[in-house]
Symmetry: C2
Subunit: 405 residues, 2 copies
C-alpha cells in the first residue's frame, strides 16, 4: 500500500521548484527550474539504487530490475514541466506516483517479473516550444531530432540549445530505450469525475488534436493618421479568426477550438498591428470531424484575410490522431481499481498526453483522478491528497496486475 503522506510531501516540496506566489508552478520546460526538478528526481532514483539514462531529447528513464531480465519493462511516468500558469498536479503527479510505487515495492521487498521503469518526458506542455508532447514524440519517431532541436521559443532560444544548456542532452538515441507497456497517472483536467463523484477514471483513449501556426501580415501604420479605408490591420483579421474558431468549435458537438497564444507586432498603443502570429488548437474524439474542422478553419482564414486585405500563412504544427488505448492495459487498471476498492468511470481524455505517443509503440493506458472544478493550466488546479493517493494505489495495482498476466 502506497504511503499517501510521503507522496503528498513530495508533491508539496517539489512544488517550490518554480513555485509562484499564487500557489501554482511556472516550471517551463528546459528552464533552470526544470533542471533543478530533474536533478531532484535523479537524486531520488540514486537513493533507490536506480541508474537514470537520458536520451537525446532529454527524456529520463530509470529502471528497477525484475526477476526476468528477458521481459521488457513496464513503464510508469509522465512529465515534470508545467505551463507558465501551471498548477501543482499536471504531469508531476504521474512521475512522483511512479516513484512512490517503486519506494513501496522496495519497502515491501517485492520483486516484479518484468523490470519496472520510471519515465520523465521532456516538454509535454508545449507552452515554451510547440508542439506539445515533443519529447515523447521524438522518442516515438513522430518527429526527428533536427525538427525538435530547431523549435524556437518567443525569445528566439531553441529547444536543442536549451537542452544542451541545462545539461540534459543524453547519449541514448531517441527510441533506443523501449518498454513493453506504459501506465500514465494524470489528473483529469476536466470536470467529469468530480461531477459524477467517481474516484478513478479508466481512460479509454485521447481525442485527436491539431495545432496550426497562423500568421497574418498587413501594414503597420499610424492609428491616428491612417483613415479606416486605407488600413491593412493584422489584429483586426486575427480577432475575426479568434471569433470564427470559437464558432466552428461550437458547431460540432464534443469539439473544442481555441487560440491561446498571440504575438502582436509591433504591439504599440498607437500603431496599427502589421503582423500577428497565433496558434490554433482544434480537438475532437473523431479524426473525421477534425478533418472537417480543419477545412472550415482554412476557409475561415482565407476569407478573413481576403476581406481585410492581408497576406497570411497557415501551417500545421502537429496533427495527433485520436488514440484508443490497449485493452489489456485498460483491463489491468480496471482490475487494480477494483482490488483497491475505488469507484471508476470510463473516460476519454480531452487533453493530449505522452501516453498518446507511447501507445503507438507499446501497449499503453492512463489513469485519471479528479480535478476540482475541472480546472487545469491554472494555479488553482486542485486534487486532494487522498485522491492523489488513490491514483498512485491504482497505478501500483495495475502494474502488478499487468506483470502477473
Amino acid at each position: 500500500k502506497i504511503d499517501a503522506e510521503r507522496l503528498w510531501g513530495d508533491l508539496m516540496r517539489t512544488a517550490e521548484i518554480g513555485g509562484t506566489s499564487d500557489g501554482g508552478i511556472a516550471r517551463l520546460t528546459l528552464s533552470d527550474d526544470d533542471r533543478r526538478m530533474r536533478d531532484w528526481l535523479r537524486a531520488q532514483c540514486d537513493t533507490l539504487g536506480l541508474a537514470t539514462t537520458v536520451d537525446e531529447a532529454g527524456n529520463m528513464f530509470a529502471t528497477r530490475a525484475g526477476a526476468r531480465p528477458d521481459l521488457p519493462a513496464i513503464a510508469m511516468g509522465s512529465h515534470l514541466d508545467t505551463q507558465p500558469t501551471g498548477g501543482k498536479f499536471d504531469g508531476v503527479l504521474g512521475v512522483l506516483a511512479g516513484l512512490e510505487v517503486l519506494r513501496t515495492l522496495d519497502a515491501a521487498g517485492y520483486q516484479t517479473e518484468a523490470p519496472l521503469m520510471l519515465v520523465n518526458w521532456t516538454n509535454e506542455e508545449g507552452s515554451r516550444f510547440s508542439p506539445a508532447m515533443l519529447g515523447s514524440g521524438i522518442w516515438a519517431g513522430v518527429y526527428g531530432r533536427e525538427y525538435g532541436d530547431a523549435r524556437t521559443d518567443v525569445t528566439g532560444d531553441t529547444f536543442g540549445a536549451s537542452l544542451d544548456r541545462i545539461g540534459y542532452r543524453g547519449e541514448a538515441k531517441a527510441g533506443a530505450i523501449r518498454f513493453g507497456a506504459m501506465f500514465e497517472l494524470h489528473i483529469e483536467q476536466g470536470p467529469i469525475l468530480e461531477a459524477e463523484g467517481k474516484q478513478i477514471g479508466v481512460v479509454q483513449g485521447i481525442q485527436g488534436m491539431r495545432w496550426f501556426d497562423l500568421t497574418m501580415t498587413g501594414v503597420a501604420a499610424h492609428t491616428g493618421s491612417t483613415p479606416m479605408g486605407m488600413r491593412r490591420n493584422a489584429l483586426l483579421a486575427m480577432a475575426r479568426v479568434i471569433d470564427g474558431i470559437d464558432r466552428i468549435a461550437k458547431s460540432h458537438s464534443d469539439a473544442v477550438g481555441t487560440i491561446g497564444f498571440l504575438d502582436v507586432s509591433p504591439n504599440s498603443h498607437n500603431v496599427i498591428p502589421g503582423k500577428v502570429r497565433a496558434t490554433i488548437d482544434l480537438r475532437h474524439p473523431s479524426d473525421a470531424v477534425l478533418d472537417q474542422m480543419e477545412a472550415e478553419t482554412a476557409t475561415l482564414v482565407r476569407e478573413v484575410a481576403e476581406t481585410v486585405g492581408l497576406e497570411y500563412s497557415f501551417e500545421p504544427i502537429s496533427r495527433t490522431a485520436a488514440v484508443a488505448f490497449n485493452p489489456d492495459c485498460i483491463a489491468s487498471v480496471r482490475a487494480g481499481a477494483k482490488a483497491a476498492g475505488y469507484t471508476t468511470r470510463d473516460i476519454i481524455s480531452g487533453a493530449g498526453h505522452d501516453a498518446a505517443h507511447a501507445a503507438a509503440v507499446a501497449p499503453t493506458t492512463m489513469i485519471f483522478v479528479p480535478s476540482a472544478g475541472g480546472l487545469s493550466h491554472n494555479p488553482a488546479e486542485s486534487t486532494e491528497s487522498h485522491e492523489c493517493a488513490a491514483g498512485a494505489q491504482v497505478l501500483l495495482e495495475a502494474v502488478l496486475d499487468y506483470d502477473r498476466c
Copy 2:
C-alpha cells in the same frame, strides 16, 4: 537659407542611434539609445554655445539669446523618441530642423528680437509608457509629476525610475521654463500632401484623441479538456471588442479607432486566456463625436463582457481635446511658405503632437511635410531630403516672420 545637406546628414547619422536592420529606428523613450541621442543633441547645442536646461520630466530646452531679453522665447522642436517600429523622420525631423535653423542664423550672424529656443519633449510616442505626449503634458500641467513617474512599461519599469537611470531628470520644475510661441515641424504621417502634390501643410489643428485601458478577466483553463460551454475566454471577448471598435470607427465619418496593444495572459498555446489587457485609441476632429464614440465603446465592452461572462475594467488613460492652432502663428507659417516659394495646403493633424499641449500654454502651430504613401510608425516611413529641407526653410521663415511682428 538652411543647408539641406547638413540637415540630411544629421538625420542619417542620428538614425544609427537605435537604428534597425530594416532601415527604421527603435529608439524607445528613456532607453540607452534615447540617452545617446539626447547626449548628441546637447553636444550640438554646446558647440553653438547654447546651454541646455532639463526639467523634471526630462524635457530639454536650449536658448539662443535675442536682441531683447525682455521678450519671451520663440520655440522650435519636437521629440527624439520613436516607436518600436519607428521610421527616420517622425519627431526627430522637427528637432534637427530647429537645430539647423539655429546653425543657419549663426552662420548668417543674424540675431532675432526674441530669444529662440530649441525643445526636445520626453516620451511623445507613448509606446513604452502611455499616454503619448507625456513630457509636454507634464510641462503643460495636464499631468502631475507623480502621475508621470508612476507610468509603467510592460516589463514593470517606471517612467520615473527610467528617467533617473538615463540621467535626464532635470532640476527645473515642470512649467518653470516657458516660451512665447512654438512652431513644430513634423512629417504628415498621412497621405494627403503627397496625394495632392503639395509641399507644405499649414496645420490648422489636431483631432481629439482618447485612450482607454481595457482589461478582460475570465478563467485560464485547459484548451483540450474544457468544454466550450464552460469557458470564460478573455481573448474571445477581446477579439469581439477589437472587431466592434473597428465597426464603431467606420460608422462615424472621419473617425478612427484601433486596438494596437494587447497583453495576453498566460499566452500559452494550450491555455484559454484568463486575462487580456488592451489599449483602445479613438480619434475624431470633433469632441462631440468623440463623446459619442466613447459611449458606444463603453456599451460594446459591457455587452461583450456580459455575453462571454467576464469581469472587466475600462479606464481612461488620456483624453486630449481637439486643438485649434493660433491664427498669428498660422499666418507666419503661411507667410514663410510664400516667401520660400512652396505650395501649401491647410490640413488637420490626424496624429497627436506635443504642440497640442504647447497650444494650451502659448500661441502654437505646426508645419507638415509629406510622408510617402502616408506611412508612419513603420521603418519604411519616407520623406525626401528636399522635402525635409523645405520644411526647415519654412520653419526658419515662419519664426523670423513671427519675430518681426
